[in-house]
Point group: C2
Chain length 630, copies 2
């Protein structure tokens, strides 16, 4: 039996909660060489059910961490018209004049034409978590479980709060199942804490952060099962809007399918006195019974077993703030809750962490001022508010009765579809556009007019100059915490242009060396060159050394041999081949700023807004954990 | 110390030699559930050097066994103009009027437009072998080493030779390093033996099979190294033809490069008395010295170490026969030797095994008559002869002096390039066209005029009907030893066409059940449906059950959402949307035969040519090791 022992631990970052948001952050920080500790109250990770939709932008983000291959292999891909509308609905069913429902439309139009992965993926949350757990374990980071926090304190010493190397947060943890001779209490002193502990976040409550918004009265049931049915769109994401209720059908791994079914109070499942859901009052068979009426005349057998099921009432709320003194942060469901049907939850959560971790790594290394962390709330709270607005409109339309001959004031198919389509770009994640801030400076937007500053870098294929191999630009911008400096040189096979490029390299070197520790530019910046020379004439080794730290760093904008993949990048990005451009991409893949080649020295102003000059951080004991990428 | 003990072992197939050809066969047979034993004389597998070029068709073949992902990840891809010519040369350098060499041309035209992977991959032989070794180990098959065969005997009992379940081959093996108490001699009785023991094949010699053709007097040196050079095409496959000799540059994994350098007798390396190469007379530094003169004015530093090197004289020979009584076979270098520069060796070798293994599996299971195995020599010996013809012309042009002002009778760049291009389709592997035989029946070629019978199935994307996900057709035709029956139904959303399809399914079922063990069609045949309905109207569950053993088996010929990948398949394959077609694809991915829907019953004649009717093999103790694919 354990006695009352206490352990004391110092960490850089403590992460509370090992769901998708917490594990995303743990993995990204571990890869960046940051000393991280992650705890979770569950004794083991979840095995089935829960969130499962991965949107196109999230696939791009996971790919930037090298995790998309496995996701795509294990998950189910929803294609057809997956980007035509908000939730990638592929088939719409509505009341038929003959009674029951009928296929109104499959939607082939594309609303998010720039998506690199023009589809959505479903994979259960446990499998998504495994992606991160396996990747983290390569860096020897594992989840400590079952642990709960019992107190959290933040120092009010100004000097300490300003010093990124100080550990101003003290968290007391309780080990719920200590082994013999293992302490049941652990005191953790952390530089930063991330609360990723879900909708009922202990961290949020301990800090007194309020949730703003309200509970709806929409009740939904969810069942995961392998269906025996003659419904022809069972392998498409389908929205069924019938006179007997609404449901959504979402294909899953293997032969599995998830049904989201709208329930009414009479179906049970809600304690009418408290307004809370009560799983003892209903079961998956009952929920499926409701679905059966909705999809008639199509039939569906009751399976021998259900893989997972739940019921819920939609809450639509956003936290009043996302951080305390840029030392304690909340991410994921801890700061926004909304309808799970929209398939946004896990995506928004992981993208919160994606936004936060590189900033934290830069501050920890002494490369950036701690104020950089203010941009996390700025960027992600606005996103969460937009998400709730979207969800509110969406949930209402979905719950309303359809318009039929007998119910003229119902929602028509056209209105319904319009709502779905309205938020197409938004819900695919590819429309995210961060507002101007210290890390988003659109002054010279015209230098690359097709590459919106504040948005993620648009997918585009370029040829590697040395060997003509086509590369997706996103794949040469991995999430390795380095800023990427993309030098669009124009045609380097033109001797006059090459002279200009030599000058640009000098100017750029001067700027980057101001910030790079030990003047070692590649540690902090990945400089990539994009020539406009044709592949028959481009010489990768003609550009100045700063622009080719390795032969793999030089690309050219020309068609590949097959002529289908690459070419036209300058035009697509709105870059003039004479003027050229330097485009700075943040470590999370969003365009930070740009300048024409002639104004390369103006980039100093951008970096000065949040970076620490090299001589300053030379004095600090910063971490240096960049992963060199070749 | 081991005593003279003897072990006796019964196996279905004994494979002698664990190079690429032997391991390919081992892995494919192991996956097919065949009892296989593989031995090699080397105590450990090779680590570096040797063969390393993987051609486009071979990538397709490896993909059909699920091995291409890793190949593409680990290997170096040669793009640019990799299909423009015989060896995928990307850059040609020739004598410059200013002295030294200069870039004459990079070749952007494509000669093999149908390649699914329009590039070549280099990866050292040891890594290729690991692909197979790791895959085999999943089926608990490992290489026994170091073992050599000491005798081989084939029974002359006619009845035994005809019975596929008999073990008429007796091979005595010697264990060169037996552990304590392990026998040093093993007597193996096998149904079949595959000799994959290289250019100096013991199996071939033991059987008295002669090699036809001759030794050339071209001497070549090879060095693998990481170069420090200013040669601008060092990351492209380059052919340098200078007044000081010829060389080829082939990029390899990481920063590595292989140089093939033509040597003259005065450079050393050959014992002039015997005409044999002698590695004690030359070294990699000396070989590089010759290369240095060839590529001047470009420079190259001598590295601290070389990864691998060798010298050789080209021999161009083909074995007089490839099998003895369809019981003992030789594959790979054991039956054909040629210039390694052409990068064909490993490809031809693996494709020999690919051709042989499914036939062997069918005979072992009692599904096919043993005479099916005669088609191995028929198909692969012809290929080998074509390969030698190609190599002869190629090697000569490469070794000849270039045409310059001072040497008007030399080979001009145009002639040189023409030779390279002439065999483009051939050397990429995608032009292989097997002649009519019991397994290649082009009677109804007109039913699918764009899909040549005897060639591999042309890559084309189709949408999966149930969920609109695009699939490359080659990916739904895995090398699982089953025949694939592709039913091109026409537009199944047209009720009249659907009626016709119902009849076709009845006729097809009758034919397939004649051969399928236990009338279980899917064990032996994978029936796949390709509708011509638009994705908005296709209903995967409208086609008769034989045509949809699972929802994943129905496809449709329409554009994907992005509109770039799929669509136009009927037109490309030359199939009329009313007439439709049934296309039978051999287990190795080559089109076996075809028929219009109206003549589906004629397929009986094709299968009758080599298959055993179900009641016959019901009486046999056949293996049943098909891997069900969903």
């Amino acid at each position: 039996m354990p006695t009352n022992m206490t352990r004391e631990t110092d960490v850089d970052v403590l992460i509370i909660g090992a769901g998708p948001a917490g594990l995303f952050a743990s993995n990204a920080l571990a890869r960046a060489g940051v000393n991280v500790k992650v705890i979770d109250k569950r004794p083991v990770k979840i095995a089935a059910g829960q969130a499962d939709g991965i949107q196109p932008r999230t696939i791009e983000v996971l790919q930037s961490y090298g995790l998309a291959d496995r996701l795509l292999k294990e998950g189910t891909q929803l294609h057809l018209a997956s980007l035509s509308c908000s939730m990638g609905v592929q088939a719409f069913y509505n009341p038929s004049p003959k009674g029951g429902i009928e296929l109104t439309e499959r939607t082939p139009d594309t609303m998010a034409p720039t998506a690199r992965y023009p589809f959505e993926v479903t994979l259960h949350q446990g499998a998504i978590e495994s992606l991160f757990l396996d990747s983290m374990s390569e860096h020897d980071v594992r989840v400590a479980r079952p642990y709960v926090p019992t107190s959290i304190e933040l120092s009010n010493n100004e000097a300490e709060l300003k010093d990124p190397q100080a550990r101003p947060v003290k968290v007391v943890l309780k080990n719920l199942a200590p082994l013999d001779n293992e302490p049941d209490t652990e005191i953790v002193r952390a530089k930063f804490v991330i609360g990723a502990d879900g909708a009922h976040s202990w961290v949020r409550k301990a800090l007194g952060i309020t949730m703003e918004g309200e509970q709806t009265d929409y009740i939904w049931g969810v069942v995961d099962m392998i269906p025996e049915t003659n419904f022809p769109d069972i392998r498409n994401k389908s929205a069924v809007h019938s006179e007997n209720g609404s449901c959504m059908i979402i294909p899953r791994e293997g032969d599995g399918v998830r049904f989201y079914i709208q329930l009414s109070e009479k179906d049970g499942g809600v304690d009418l006195a408290t307004g809370r859901v009560d799983k003892s009052r209903i079961g998956p068979r009952k929920i499926l019974e409701v679905a059966r009426k909705t999809i008639a005349p199509y039939t569906i057998e009751t399976p021998e077993s259900f893989e997972w099921w739940t019921i819920y009432i939609i809450g639509q709320r956003v936290a009043s703030k996302f951080s305390v003194d840029e030392r304690i942060f909340i991410v994921g469901d801890a700061c926004h809750t909304h309808s799970p049907k929209a398939g946004q939850g896990m995506n928004a959560s992981m993208n919160d962490s994606h936004n936060l971790v590189w900033k934290m790594a830069h501050v920890l290394r002494g490369w950036a001022d701690i104020s950089l962390l203010k941009t996390y709330e700025l960027e992600r709270q606005k996103y969460a508010n937009d998400l709730i607005d979207f969800d509110r409109e969406f949930a209402k339309k979905f719950s309303d009765k359809p318009k039929t001959e007998g119910s003229e004031d119902g929602v028509s198919h056209e209105e319904f579809k319009k709502t779905f389509q309205k938020f197409g770009l938004f819900s695919s994640g590819i429309g995210v556009h961060y507002a101007p801030s210290s890390v988003v400076s659109p002054t010279y937007q015209s230098a690359a007019s097709g590459l919106p500053i504040g948005q993620r870098v648009l997918p585009q294929m370029f040829l590697r100059a040395a060997d003509g191999r086509p590369f997706e630009i996103q794949d040469v911008l991995p999430s390795d915490t380095r800023f990427k400096v993309l030098v669009f040189t124009g045609d380097t096979s033109d001797p006059e242009q090459l002279l200009k490029v030599n000058d640009v390299a000098e100017g750029l070197k001067r700027v980057l060396q101001l910030y790079a520790p030990g003047r070692d530019v590649v540690k902090m910046f990945d400089v990539l060159t994009f020539s406009a020379a044709v592949k028959e004439r481009v010489m990768y080794n003609a550009v100045p050394p700063l622009l080719r730290a390795h032969w793999t760093k030089v690309f050219t904008d020309d068609m590949d041999t097959v002529g289908k993949l690459a070419g036209g990048g300058y035009e697509y990005y709105g870059i003039d081949k004479k003027e050229g451009a330097v485009v700075v991409v943040r470590p999370d893949g969003y365009v930070g700023t740009a300048a024409p080649l002639s104004h390369v020295s103006d980039l100093e102003g951008y970096f000065a807004g949040f970076m620490t000059k090299a001589k300053v951080h030379a004095a600090l004991n910063g971490i240096n954990g960049t992963n060199g990428i070749n």
